[in-house]
Point group: C2
Chain length 317, copies 2
Amino acid sequence: MAETISDVGEHPMIRRLTAGLAAHPQVVLGPGDDGAVLRFKGDVVVSTDTMVEDVHFKRAWSSAHDIGRKAVASAVADLEAMGARPVGIVIALNVSATETTQWIDGLQQGVLCECERAGCALVGGDLSRSQQAVITGTVLGDLEGRAPVRRAGALPGQSIAYCGNLGMAEAGLAVLRRGFSSPAAVVRAHRFPDPPYRQGIVAAEAGATAMIDISDGLVADLRHVAQASGVRLELDTARFSANEHQQRVAAALGGIDPAQFILAGGDDHALVATFAADRVPDGWQVIGEVSEGEACVLVDGAEWAPTGGWDHFSDSR
Amino acid sequence: MAETISDVGEHPMIRRLTAGLAAHPQVVLGPGDDGAVLRFKGDVVVSTDTMVEDVHFKRAWSSAHDIGRKAVASAVADLEAMGARPVGIVIALNVSATETTQWIDGLQQGVLCECERAGCALVGGDLSRSQQAVITGTVLGDLEGRAPVRRAGALPGQSIAYCGNLGMAEAGLAVLRRGFSSPAAVVRAHRFPDPPYRQGIVAAEAGATAMIDISDGLVADLRHVAQASGVRLELDTARFSANEHQQRVAAALGGIDPAQFILAGGDDHALVATFAADRVPDGWQVIGEVSEGEACVLVDGAEWAPTGGWDHFSDSR
């Protein structure tokens, strides 16, 4: 019989999860007291993000390690999108009483792996019982004297540019739903995102006036920017093309347009920002322009909605 | 048919929940962007706390408003116990797709009611789907230049004192489990705690060297202080007595010792701290002393464990 959380007990499991955590220069006091203590140089950005079993992930498709990585990455991406440097994260974990300690340990290893990549520290958490696994990550980031880069702030004449992946996780989900497990690159992208860490600060320092991370889909998330900024965002599909993996998946799905993955796919947590045309940082790709007009997103000059054989708003998102 | 969250949709519900939130002098940017922005005077304390339906609360016993108040109060009490001033809270809410908007609105009203009492602002959240209702509150507090008051720090010769309620929620739970709904004072205490807001700062400024909030029970939580501090904590039951409500409940439960509610009952989130004997603040009651010796908690000179007919570690805690 596998060892379960009930065999070990709540407090011993918490001690096991918090033993030997890495130090961080801005963490004054880590886990083990009523709260952790962090030291910031500037204003503090906070964001919270929940992942629910069978809603945001499936155990059949993702290992505990994958899920731990995804919980951290998707939460931290929100800090990046404000131009903040991630400092600390707290994780509230709800699991059933029969959850194996192996799964929880795997999740924790994934959390710590992604914390190291993101540059932040796990500083606390909570552990309790529930029917489904529910993982809530709350991250704190440091603006270090910078102003936050908001959704409101896009200006006519600016370039729209992105950094990171677009439409990879969505292609992976489409593959997994059909019972396949390749191309590996897209399946991996579904399991955990690869946000462009530290590029949010790069964008802020380059003078980005609006920024967002892509969690619901490029067009859907840019609508928030268009509305908050009161501008028209015009995407030019000649500026980006589906990669070979996305093309393979689109062909396997009966020849849908692979651009749909890029325009409608979420969960990759790319950053998209608006810059003066001559100040787009290296590593960011221009995909369109900001113009005056009614707040909306146009793709090649027209309103856009996904078409074809796959359902973007299905249960397993 | 009652309106459900599925009828309204996620984004409209979020807009409804975040409309017209109160301003707070330390909140630079509230909900609606990728993250909220807060401004602190000193180091930042963070703590996260989850409440799960049928584990931490039952709908039959608690209204949505009660549950919202409890989520905020139990999270903020952790900040108080560090000597911090609560500033902001983010709430991740998971509910079923058939949850009524009336219940969610009630929860939100309870959250806002308790935020006002605690002096903090709701600055963000997340809303997603799950089988059970799961509410995770993460609070951020400001040490304003003070050092955090940790569990480690109790010194031999100090007085142990508390502020707030002890054993009221546990008496309420005992009553509800037996199908009764009075005494009202204890039932209400189960539904949401009444932490002694701002007394954590009072204790810190009076020179408290160790502090904790009572969530698992006085003796159980003081064991954490004893172990972290390496001291013996000696409680003197002559220093406190069960109130009339607790005496009534104890009698109705077949004559158990009402002191058990005080010694073992959690969820009231009283603050307990150690002070130099001549520096105990007004409103704090001395209940024992710190002495040298093996780290442990003694009650009237002896080790103590609950006895009698009620189960402290049952399902509905």
